[in-house]
Symmetry: C2
Subunit: 517 residues, 2 copies
């Protein structure tokens, strides 16, 4: 450390205690006035104080938008439509997906069960050709430590089910925009509004438009019923306003669409399948089963991980949805397309002769394919192939393992093993199950700092920012025709750099937005 | 009661318990997602659970919009610009206001003290000619019990200071609009969306535009300072989001305006007056007094009643504001124009020869004047004039008093005496103070029912609906020129018909919106 003045002033600015308090107040009030909210944790409001769930608190959020390289932001956005197209194509390639599932079958009962749902429906035949994807591709900025100075985005994962926070991220951008004129210019180390480049964020409108497109494409009810959209949710969801904003956007149009929320655990109670060749999914109003609607779109905000399937009945519920005529977001095929195994296969290097794994879905030599490929980091199988055996060496080596993260197939935070934990974990795990994991080279994002307001307390320090780009895609599984393919806004999710897992709702990360630099 | 089917279905519909629960859930979630919120009462969330004020709860609100006669609604809206003009004219008529103050001086120390603030500033000379009014004229529908079937609006009061709920009432209209498509059609006794006529409600935008007009009219700072708007508020305000929505609307424009909130009790600490002939009001950022702004508009959401003036220092603070060059919303003169005494004088019948009290301000024979006059109910002085002596007879008579309410001058609920309480109250009050009250014939609104969601509980039963029409007016006190005169949306505030006082924040009434019939 030397006393020389830094070339750029410190960002975010050093705040004195009064500034911190005032800024936290401003954030809190704006958030509560604009539904940038979440249900409070029991540790903040004990259940006996609010048994009915009457209260809301601001979602954890940064006091400042985090600097993000414009070129990386643009790179991620401009890749999204190609990614949509790619994952639509993967979802249609049953043979490819079957191979991926086969490779993880031994160690990943969840993905196997999911695949079995598909096989059962396949036997009787699907009755809905259209498939809806509300995707989110997540990236970190990678700063090559070995001399190459260029910053690039590297994909962390591609979410094909329950991509969350789109309902709140547009609001977060607006919050930071508000602060950029009302608060930041008043600090001891002021920030001029025009110095912050805050890109527009259309995530709520974009995601709702995707769902609406599927609703419209489904067509009228042949049964003469009113149609609806089902949001399938988890019981006791705290991140409910994120989901509600999409529901409200679907209502707030000249021709509102009816949305019902249904817990995954109640699917078999409140839906049935019409005794017709088309197998329409019928929703029965729980308080009066004689009121029946035809569900044209099923949007899953649950069912992405094992905990939503505690028993065979839950798997029957998923089968029940899958065999119905409703347009699923996602189908089982799309969900499986989002596994880490698929991500690892796609990232395999192109062999000297013949097409790459990626080239199976999009033209290998197209510039857009190159753009997507540039977002890949090194990912290895953990199976008994040549590449897999090499990866096992990395993973077990006490030095080499420090550059990697070991990931299972399933979505949702908390399941990954990082660096020195990898050998320990593998030693406890039967070797026959190792193939269900992938080994991913850690992306090394630049050091950043920010201040997070969480449950009324400020947390300051080093952070890592993960960019997610939303995309909506509606396609025909039989013909491959894309009926819709749009980029749909972004999420910036920020977490402390000492923590290894993100996810605002889980109590780790927080909402943020991009200040392009 | 007979078993014959009613001609019109019951409104609001009879709900079964599941319907009540579902509707309450829908209201609660929409409200929390859209800032239709308030800080929870300590009885709902004890202060030790949330000492920082992190939480919000939905504002008390009806489950259904209340039917309101369209003709009465139109009558109220179309009278607003004339009312704006009338109260601007009254504010300019110091002689008239002095007379009104004189009449209540003995029993109303508060109004006298207010007037003294004006007299002190008058002595040194006002330095700001412009005056801003964010008014609200409140009405009940009157159904004449004596055979005349026509429903008419009758004015309850005219608010010239701190007219509240404009920030929440636009949202309440949107809530009911949402429910009209998402929930009401699904009830056992369904309501079709097209059968509910929900008028647009532009209160947030309209009130913010009024404040903005004053900010623009003030002109640039001659001191070269950045200008700002001050919202003067009460300590510990629970109805904070109502006020915040106006602040956010002032920010959410291509040229945002800086707004600071300042408690009335801190005015002398954080503002000063420039040592210039113009006497600019300077706001010093509390956390750093060297950051100084010129306050061009002062919007009072405090200072309307005696409890904001616990000591002489509070009166000095009001004097301090009044003598400054800031455009006041309102000035002392405008505030005094809003007293019940003025309302009573205006409502005096036109004498056989000569102009009416109303005719002093707006042309007695104009159609618009007649329109305003039709909104008056009978209001009598309680002084020793001929009319006053007659009123005292009514007030003391155990039978006749049942048709009246006795009101003091000051704003804010809780100070009125109704019906049989009037004689008892007067007997306890020195006769020399009676003149500070006015006696108002009770308006007899039609019987209505509704269901109120308050703190998670439903209250069902007879209600009374009070319509408020907002108006914004900017005028020159010297020349009388109107720089702005606009109607600015509406408030429907509903309370149980067994309670005598409204006011959602005080825990009595609730937010509502109009379904025109």
């Amino acid at each position: 450390m030397d006393a020389a003045k830094p070339v750029t002033p410190r960002y975010p600015p050093r705040l004195n205690p009064s500034e911190s308090d005032d800024l936290a107040q401003a954030v809190k009030n704006w958030a509560l006035a604009h539904g940038l909210t979440i249900r409070p944790l029991p540790s903040v409001v004990p259940d006996d104080v609010d048994p009915q769930g009457l209260l809301a608190i601001n979602v954890p959020v940064t006091l400042f938008p985090s600097p993000f390289p414009r070129q990386c932001f643009d790179q991620a956005r401009s890749a999204q439509q190609t990614y949509n197209e790619l994952y639509a194509a993967i979802s249609r390639d049953e043979e490819f997906l079957a191979g991926a599932v086969e490779e993880v079958r031994d160690g990943d009962e969840f993905t196997s069960n999911l695949w079995n749902v598909h096989l059962r429906v396949k036997k009787e035949g699907y009755t809905q050709n259209l498939s809806l994807g509300l995707f989110r591709s997540d990236y970190l900025v990678h700063q090559d430590l070995s001399g190459n100075e260029t910053q690039q985005i590297k994909q962390v994962e591609f979410n094909t089910i329950a991509s969350s926070f789109g309902g709140l991220s547009a609001q977060t951008t607006l919050l930071h925009k508000f602060l950029s004129t009302s608060e930041y210019p008043l600090l001891e180390q002021p920030i001029a509004p025009e110095s912050l480049m805050l890109p527009e964020n259309d995530s709520v409108r974009g995601l709702a438009a995707g769902i609406r497109a599927a609703f419209d494409a489904y067509g009228d009810s042949e049964l003469g019923l009113e149609r609806c959209i089902l949001f399938v949710v988890q019981d006791g969801e705290r991140n409910v306003f994120d989901q509600r904003h999409l529901e409200y956007a679907l209502n707030n149009t000249p021709e509102p669409v009816r949305v019902f929320r249904i817990p995954f655990s109640k699917l078999l109670d409140h839906t049935s399948i019409a005794q017709t060749p088309k197998r329409q999914l019928l929703y029965h109003l729980p308080r009066n089963r004689s009121k029946t609607f035809e569900a044209s779109v099923v949007y899953l905000r649950a069912g992405y991980g094992p905990s939503d399937y505690p028993d065979q009945r839950a798997w029957e519920a998923r089968y029940h949805l899958e065999r119905s005529a409703a347009i699923k977001c996602p189908t089982v095929l799309s969900q499986v397309a989002g596994t880490k195994k698929v991500q690892q296969i796609l990232a395999s290097p192109r062999p000297a002769n013949g097409p790459s794994a990626l080239g199976r879905f999009i033209p290998d030599d197209a510039p857009l394919t190159a753009q997507v490929r540039r977002t890949f980091t090194n990912i290895y199988p953990m199976d008994t192939s040549e590449a897999g055996l090499k990866a096992r060496q990395f993973a077990l080596d006490p030095e080499l393992c420090l550059n990697y993260v070991l990931k299972p197939q399933r979505e949702g935070g908390g399941n990954n093993h990082y660096r020195e934990d990898i050998p320990t974990f593998l030693e406890k795990t039967p070797e026959s199950h190792w193939g269900a994991f992938i080994l991913m080279e850690l992306i090394t994002p630049p050091k950043q700092e920010n201040i997070i307001l969480r449950n009324g307390k400020l947390e300051e320090g080093g952070v890592i920012c993960e960019l997610g780009i939303y995309g909506t895609c509606l396609w025909n599984q039989s013909t491959g025709q894309l009926l819709r393919n749009e980029e749909a806004g972004y999420l910036l999710r920020t977490k402390g750099d000492t923590s290894n897992e993100g996810g605002v709702a889980a109590g780790y990360g927080c909402m943020d937005s991009c200040a392009l630099v």
